[in-house]
């Protein structure tokens, strides 16, 4: 019986024999759709992977430790309102154009003009100017401690290539090359774009002329596929046709893969999973009600739900508003726990009767795991005598609805990370009263103390002062509980054994910045 099966299979597989050049290595991975190739619009994980490989930034986080090192920048100086960067010599874009200070200025201008993606990080930057061909100066409107850190999100674009390819649009810059850059790469990066279909797949090829050089073992071709079903990825990896799964694979599937011998990559610690409560909507405008819900949540079950095996989990217990390891975070032992007695106390102190409550718990349609958290929450609340309903929201709709407090659901589930690795980029956007109504801030929090600590954190000069400011912030956020701090997030990727990615397996080589671990030039294909 086995025989005929394998015979048929053999016959079929024979017809599919690979035609790729011998020895060429291909790395296949997947992410959720869509992959945005325009670096000024990059915001989510797939975009970041593309950006970090096709483009380079002035600085990079130090691997395995704090601080930043120069990347396109040779060196830099400055503090407070002005920073000056000296560019490395001899760096060439993929087009062959040399990298100049003009390109850096153009990249910042373009980022700010388009106003998409993570451009808000550069709100404090008034302007950039080219001092000479290899020197660029940034002028800030106010002191901003995490400025250097934020430069990891300023990819440098080939100005000449873009200017040659402007499409219709208003003003001098026409479309700022949006049409061109949405389909083509114009960076200095280690990989060039062979083809790009934002829904389906981006194919990248090794850039032999990369200024740092790319190792031979690094994959020759990278195929980043979008929107594969979990079951598809699971089987493709098992059949040896896929290498790295996205972090959005449900834990059960990762478990199944690990059991079959897949290796697990992890990227730790600049973000957390939050259940954000709308502080403007009754009954959650009363801190006691929020505290009641926060105490009722079953944290340990939530963490169990995301465990892959005894050692690796997609998260660790939360200790407060700030993930362990960042400025101001609590010690890893101070785990938040469910406490129903306290929850009942808080509920009694709340000005709204429990019987009248109907809490809307939303979950993002693209992240099925969230539905289970919603169910967990619902059953926890039921125990407390509070009614709740679950609402599934596609990401795009969610992002639109949080703009207005009245449209924002009572509870929104979000994975938020520090896009630059700095706590400021994690916390300021979430809790400062000047930034309500973005996808990060469905709390619509307006608290003077919180604002004060946040300002202190971003303007303080020394790391110690910053740590102190964030410590106070953490305490205040625990006290008024705008958020149920679910768990500290760690991304887990199931991977085939054909690929090595030190930046994702060895803590001493980790970047501490989401997506940067997927610098393909640092990966090795084993075959």
């Amino acid at each position: 019986m086995i025989n005929w099966k394998s015979l048929i299979a053999a016959a079929l597989f024979a017809s599919t024999g690979t035609t790729a050049a011998i020895g060429e290595t291909v790395l296949r991975l997947d992410e959720v759709a869509v992959g945005e190739l325009d670096p000024a619009k990059a915001s989510d994980y797939a975009d970041s992977i593309l950006m970090f490989n096709v483009y380079d930034t002035l600085v990079l986080p130090t691997q395995g430790g704090p601080g930043h090192i120069g990347h396109l920048a040779e060196s830099w100086s400055g503090e407070g309102n002005a920073y000056t960067f000296k560019l490395k010599e001899g760096v060439k874009f993929q087009s062959g154009n040399p990298l100049t200070a003009d390109d850096v200025v153009f990249s910042l201008d373009r980022m700010k003009a388009l106003g998409a993606g993570l451009s808000y990080l550069f709100g404090v930057v008034d302007s950039a100017e080219a001092v000479d061909a290899s020197t660029v100066k940034f002028n800030l409107s106010s002191p901003y401690a995490p400025f250097v850190a934020s430069l990891v999100r300023l990819p440098i674009v080939d100005k000449n290539a873009v200017m040659d390819n402007l499409a219709d649009g208003e003003g001098d810059m026409k479309d700022w090359g949006q049409e061109y850059l949405s389909a083509n790469g114009a960076g200095t990066g280690a990989y060039t774009v062979s083809s790009h279909n934002p829904q389906e797949e981006t194919v990248l090829a090794k850039n032999a002329d990369y200024f740092l050089g790319v190792g031979d073992a690094a994959p020759d071709t990278v195929r980043l596929r979008y929107g594969l079903e979990a079951a598809t990825v699971r089987t493709l990896i098992a059949q040896g046709e896929h290498d790295i799964a996205s972090q959005w694979l449900p834990p059960e599937v990762v478990q199944a893969l690990a059991k079959d011998g897949a290796q697990l990559f992890t990227e730790a610690g600049t973000g957390a999973f939050y259940f954000k409560m709308n502080t403007t909507k009754a009954p959650l405008d009363d801190a006691n009600c929020r505290l009641a819900l926060a105490s009722a949540f079953d944290y340990s079950t939530a963490v169990k739900m995301i465990a892959i095996n005894d050692e690796i989990s997609a998260g660790s217990p939360a200790t407060g508003a700030i993930p362990v390891g960042m400025y101001g975070s609590n010690d890893a032992s101070m785990v938040i726990k469910q406490d129903m007695a306290k929850a009942k106390e808080y509920l009694a102190a709340c000005k709204y009767p429990a019987a009248d409550m109907n809490i809307v718990v939303s979950w993002i349609a693209e992240v099925p795991l969230e539905e289970r958290f919603a169910l967990l929450m619902q059953s926890n609340f039921t125990e407390l005598g509070i009614k709740s309903e679950i609402k599934k929201m596609p990401w795009a709709l969610f992002a639109e609805q949080v703009a207005k407090p009245e449209n924002t659901p009572h509870i929104s589930q979000l994975f938020v990370n520090a896009v630059t690795g700095d706590p400021d980029t994690l916390l300021y956007g979430m809790y400062h009263s000047s930034t309500p109504g973005t996808w990060q801030s469905p709390e619509h929090l307006n608290d003077a103390q919180v604002d004060e600590h946040l300002e202190a954190g971003r303007t303080a000069a020394s790391p110690e002062e910053r740590a102190a400011a964030y410590g106070k912030l953490n305490a205040r956020l625990m006290e008024i509980a705008p958020t149920i701090y679910g768990f500290d997030r760690q991304s887990v990727f199931a991977a085939s054994n054909r690929v090595k990615a030190p930046a994702l397996t060895d803590a001493s080589q980790a970047f501490g910045l989401d997506g940067l671990g997927f610098s393909f030039r640092l990966m090795e294909m084993v075959e």
């Binding site: 599919t16 035609t19 949405s182 934002p198 829904q199 598809t232 089987t235 795009a396």
Partner: protein
């Protein structure tokens, strides 16, 4: 053949009216979407001015009639606007995704006809016997489950437990095939790469079957019913009285007249596959228009929603038009009728 031309002209006219109706309908539907498409498009961090600018450029602040006017004007130039989801012209997206869907639907349609009709003929010929009972049961089962259930079942059986077929995609990605028609089965042959053709064919088997199963069942049932009805006609008895072989009577004298009423429904079933492709493409990661359609609907991408629905409806109308012509071709009564050709 003038009556056929007249029929064609009339059907084209009706199709055009219907298409305009469809465009109004989808346009209306798309414009009552709750939420601000400009804000959704620009993402969570956009500023108020940026949103206002985009709203103006999308004419979102004008009345729905003016908006529709703009839409028709653009449409007549072949411009469906920019997809706010992929940031590309909707026509580019559609041109990229449509061939994969059409290829899948066409192959499924061929399966439906190549398997469904013979089953129906057989069933009718051996009416009341064992083969008939089996075929009826199987074809009824075929229409009794949505195509995503078949997709999952086929995938489980023939891709997981018996790994005979691939579980996703249109072709193994080591083949680079230049896209000429967008139909991989054709492009691979144009490229003269027979291995790649086999590979593409191998990939399409499961999705096409999943999509075709209910159509096969429907076609078999319909053919059977119409064959049986035809079977009682005097001209069949006459054919028997003239001693033609039973198979010849079934396949020729009874089949052709039976096909005429069947075709309309088979055409509708075929067109329904355009919708069911939504379900199958999701399961088999088939990079077609339907997956795109679902994605843009979830993201409230107006231009893309309108474009997708319009294109699918147009394809639907074209299929029906072809079916009508085919019926006219098969049915001399229509070809030679002097009056009402509806």
């Amino acid at each position: 053949m003038t009556p056929v031309l007249r029929l064609l002209a009339r059907r084209l006219g009706i199709s055009l009216i219907v298409l305009i109706g469809v465009s109004m309908l989808v346009f209306g539907i798309a414009r009552v979407i709750p939420g601000d498409p400009a804000r959704i498009a620009l993402g969570p961090n956009a500023s108020t001015e940026q949103i206002a600018k985009l709203r103006a450029s999308l004419h979102l602040d004008e009345s729905i009639f003016v908006q529709y006017g703009h839409f028709i004007k653009d449409l007549s130039r072949g411009d469906l606007g920019i997809s706010l989801y992929t940031n590309r012209p909707v026509t580019t997206d559609i041109a990229q995704f449509l061939p994969a869907t059409l290829e899948l639907v066409l192959v499924a349609g061929v399966l439906m006809i190549a398997i469904g009709l013979p089953l129906g003929i057989w069933s009718a010929r051996f009416r009341g016997r064992f083969a008939d009972h089996i075929i009826r049961l199987v074809s009824l089962l075929g229409v009794s489950a949505p195509s995503f259930v078949w997709a999952v079942i086929l995938m489980l059986l023939f891709a997981y437990y018996l790994p005979l077929f691939p579980i996703a995609g249109r072709i193994t990605d080591t083949y680079t095939i230049e896209s000429i028609t967008g139909f991989l089965l054709i492009d691979t042959l144009i490229a003269g790469n027979f291995q790649a053709f086999l590979n593409a064919a191998w990939h399409i088997v499961l999705p096409a079957f999943a999509l075709a199963l209910s159509g096969i069942g429907q076609a078999a049932r319909l053919t059977r019913a119409n064959m049986i009805e035809t079977w009682d006609k005097p001209y069949i008895e006459m054919a028997q009285a003239y001693g033609y072989a039973p198979a010849r009577i079934a396949n020729r004298f009874a089949f052709k007249p039976s096909m005429i009423p069947s075709l309309t429904i088979i055409g509708l079933d075929f067109a329904a596959m355009l919708g069911n492709a939504f379900l199958v493409e999701a399961v088999f990661a088939w990079p077609g228009l339907s997956r795109y359609g679902v994605a843009v609907i979830l993201r409230k991408d107006l231009n893309a929603i309108i474009g997708t629905v319009l294109i699918i409806s147009a394809a639907f109308l074209i299929v029906n038009l072809i079916i009508d012509l085919l019926i006219a071709f098969l049915n001399p009564r229509i070809r030679y009728s002097q009056r009402d050709v509806k």
